[in-house]
Subunit: 301 residues, 4 copies
Amino acid sequence: MSGSGIWPAGVRCAVVLSFDLDAETLWLSRNPRSADSPACLAQGAYGPKVGVPRLLEMLRRQEVRSTFFIPGWVVERYPETARAIAAAGHEIGYHGYLHEKPESAEQERELIDKVKVIMSRVLGTTPVGHRSPLWECLPGLVDVLCASGFEYASNLMDADLPYLHAATDGSGLVELPTSWLYEDAAHFFFTLQEPARRPIATTDTVMNIWTAEFDGLYDEGGILVLTMHPQIMGRVSRVRMLDQFITYVKSRPGTWIAPGIDVARAVRPKLRAIPPYPAGGRPTPSPAALPRSSHAGSNTP
Amino acid sequence: MSGSGIWPAGVRCAVVLSFDLDAETLWLSRNPRSADSPACLAQGAYGPKVGVPRLLEMLRRQEVRSTFFIPGWVVERYPETARAIAAAGHEIGYHGYLHEKPESAEQERELIDKVKVIMSRVLGTTPVGHRSPLWECLPGLVDVLCASGFEYASNLMDADLPYLHAATDGSGLVELPTSWLYEDAAHFFFTLQEPARRPIATTDTVMNIWTAEFDGLYDEGGILVLTMHPQIMGRVSRVRMLDQFITYVKSRPGTWIAPGIDVARAVRPKLRAIPPYPAGGRPTPSPAALPRSSHAGSNTP
Amino acid sequence: MSGSGIWPAGVRCAVVLSFDLDAETLWLSRNPRSADSPACLAQGAYGPKVGVPRLLEMLRRQEVRSTFFIPGWVVERYPETARAIAAAGHEIGYHGYLHEKPESAEQERELIDKVKVIMSRVLGTTPVGHRSPLWECLPGLVDVLCASGFEYASNLMDADLPYLHAATDGSGLVELPTSWLYEDAAHFFFTLQEPARRPIATTDTVMNIWTAEFDGLYDEGGILVLTMHPQIMGRVSRVRMLDQFITYVKSRPGTWIAPGIDVARAVRPKLRAIPPYPAGGRPTPSPAALPRSSHAGSNTP
Amino acid sequence: MSGSGIWPAGVRCAVVLSFDLDAETLWLSRNPRSADSPACLAQGAYGPKVGVPRLLEMLRRQEVRSTFFIPGWVVERYPETARAIAAAGHEIGYHGYLHEKPESAEQERELIDKVKVIMSRVLGTTPVGHRSPLWECLPGLVDVLCASGFEYASNLMDADLPYLHAATDGSGLVELPTSWLYEDAAHFFFTLQEPARRPIATTDTVMNIWTAEFDGLYDEGGILVLTMHPQIMGRVSRVRMLDQFITYVKSRPGTWIAPGIDVARAVRPKLRAIPPYPAGGRPTPSPAALPRSSHAGSNTP
């Protein structure tokens, strides 16, 4: 029944409902001046204050477990929220300390160590799933994550099936690929701060897009990793839409809704490791090799 | 019947229809060069010239009272319009003098005093409800507003229920939270001036969004604070949509449509004060604590 | 039957279908570097090459006359197109020489004189209707236009009915107001050149918006001035949508579809002159009076 | 049966399904820093990794041949993908080496020579169809292409029928015009990198737009050149939409779906050469002739 050959018996298609609980750090990492803006901070706070309780209640009723990627700062600031998420059976994944993009492998390691201490203290566990803040990754990220004990990442948009990044030390890291198409912010987030986000889609529009993608991935035996933010998806009309989407997904036999770590562990034995971006047989030109005008076109696609 | 426990007997859900009557000040505060642009000024003038009469007539027919937040400059320039709004039973709230963002608590106080004098002269009243121009607030705004006699503000986007900001002097300020999702400009406003606004949604789209949110808030017992601008919402097709929305809202038993001040006074006795942003148990990192690269990512959400 | 009291007997609502035939000047005035871009120029050329013949044929079949505002440069470059438009009974209005924004009243006069000579030579007529390129006007425009023999302008967005600007010399200029909502480019134009334009609406969306506005204006007895560009509206699916819109509009009794000049002359005797923007009883603050921070807010509406 | 008089017997309307297989070069040419961004590169890699196999399977089932314009760098990096495309009967066209915009005719010639060598080695053929990267063309492009043996280009947006550019040497180059309206990226591409692209349309929206255009062009006897990118159009829901679109198009008698080269060769004998942009009877003002303020308007359309 598995279209792709990597799924456990009886599974045809996997769905991971992941939430990036950025809270105020979404705003602080977009623009440090947000620290002095109650208006921006309040938008972030909606996530833990309103979005998470509403989502947890819906997920509980649907009997579905998911993954919440939570910055360390948010775990410190909202420890009861983080514990409530874990207590409900959801996986807690890594999402930076302040939703920042590290500038080097060393800084990445320092951030990971810092967050592990926080999560260990507040939650009694350390994360094995990695979601990059700001959708950005360092070129050498795979080696850093493998050395730090991560089992999977969910950052790249180059596949509709899990695959395995080879690490330099011979180990590997499962990738659970996602897409802007599967992200709530791409459709729903509104801000005039650069990079500005608009317009606001209706829930019908996003239900249409996600259902059409799920239908196709279901037939092919692929994976659908939704990436959502409680401060965005937690609005009451959107939680209802997600509720309906889950009901639809569950109605198709062989669909497996699970936290990222469950999927990663289930498929890993079937995966053959491939070199990660951008090295390892994936040559890319250096900036110097590009013609000077290559990014100046007024019609740039 | 009240889902949240803060509503008066018989009330399940509250709806505040608020209008920011910015007129020309919307343009002047976006870009001072608009003062020399008849094309920009005319767009602002549509609000008092066309939008307000059309809205007042519809609200009168629906027997609904609302809140108009009006900059002092607009009260001076369109005194008959302001008086007509008040005479129809609507609340007049504070919205700056020139739709400006003050740079300090002292400047905020000066602006409030200046506008109080104008409103007192033109309308015979002073405002007790506060809506920040440009959706921005100073960190210490709560103390300033409490000291100036304000009873409520409607500025932040962190809740679906009213709550109470604690002031340093022991008093408090009711917050009637709103959302970009509930703002007409987020959906309808078009301008190529930075920050640019586009595209223009259909009224069906916004009716869909607002109805879906209302349905959910109704079931939960929440509050829906629409924030509209007569120069945007006053177009004939949009007034008709709002008319239909009000008819729908009124059809659900236990819905209370009221000016902000009525709601604030009704719920205040039930609310427990919490410290305002960003101080008071809500630590946020200073800009210096943020990694330098945190706001440079090309994929910033 | 007239809702507003200004319409001729039997008329309830007026519709002006206006076209700005910018051709290549749309691109040249957006960015002078377009002069070296065949890709940009070709987009402009689609208007006279394809859009105009398709529109003329449809308008002929519908037996509807409209107004084409044509820059002088376009009249020089496409004289046969301009003559075909005039020969089909449509009004030719003024739209600058190169779709430029003049910097002074003197430059405006020079441009008008230059274009009059061109139109006189190519078409045997001079324009009496004015549409500003780039939707911008000089503060003293009304005086310039009255002195130059213009009878009406269609530039501002502050009303749903024609009105009369008072000129300093005691004469007046009819304004036929329009709106971004009634412009094809606001919905359909796509370019990544700044100011960028996206996304592209479906014809169903624009039919929905224009029909909803027309229905309301019809009931109130207003005026609907559509502003379209042959290079944008001339795409085959959009001409069909406009065709259907015209059929719908004609089905409502008392609707008057006419060129701008016919409407302006019909209503002028009923109009009382009011001072133009921004002078004459319409005080606006100078930029110096604005607080420095007024246009810096990250949440600027 | 041919509405335009240029089509072969039995043909009423032509449809070219073209794909720009930019892969990582889309990102490298937008911003050279993408070379260090696994997140950007992965989005590009989705095209050859997932999009192309999915599209090839659908096109095979539909028994439809198309044109893939592939940068030389992508042919080098994904030689098996390029060979699979050619082996399935599709035309391989020119699309630069690194999706760059050349700065001079000489650089254009060098790029063409470089890519010819690569394609000759990997595919055993050289391209005769030209699609400019970034939708931009040098003013003298037609002469360069004719001298390099190209038979057609598909770059400009000024017609709904093929036409012939006259070259200085007396030869000619067929143009197969396209439109932003017919490009997948204009509707579906999402990125926050400047120039940013958003929002993401539903497949229903694009099906609506493309069907409405096809219906009109079919009646007129025109040409519809879709321009798609496997990294964008290759998502499963979009391949299904394209599948449905092809089924619809094939249901209309007299529709000819063919690679660009087949169409170019079929119509060329019927075409009369016209001078290319911007020279040859198509005078455009030099930037110096434009008023300084022409591109400064805050309301620029």
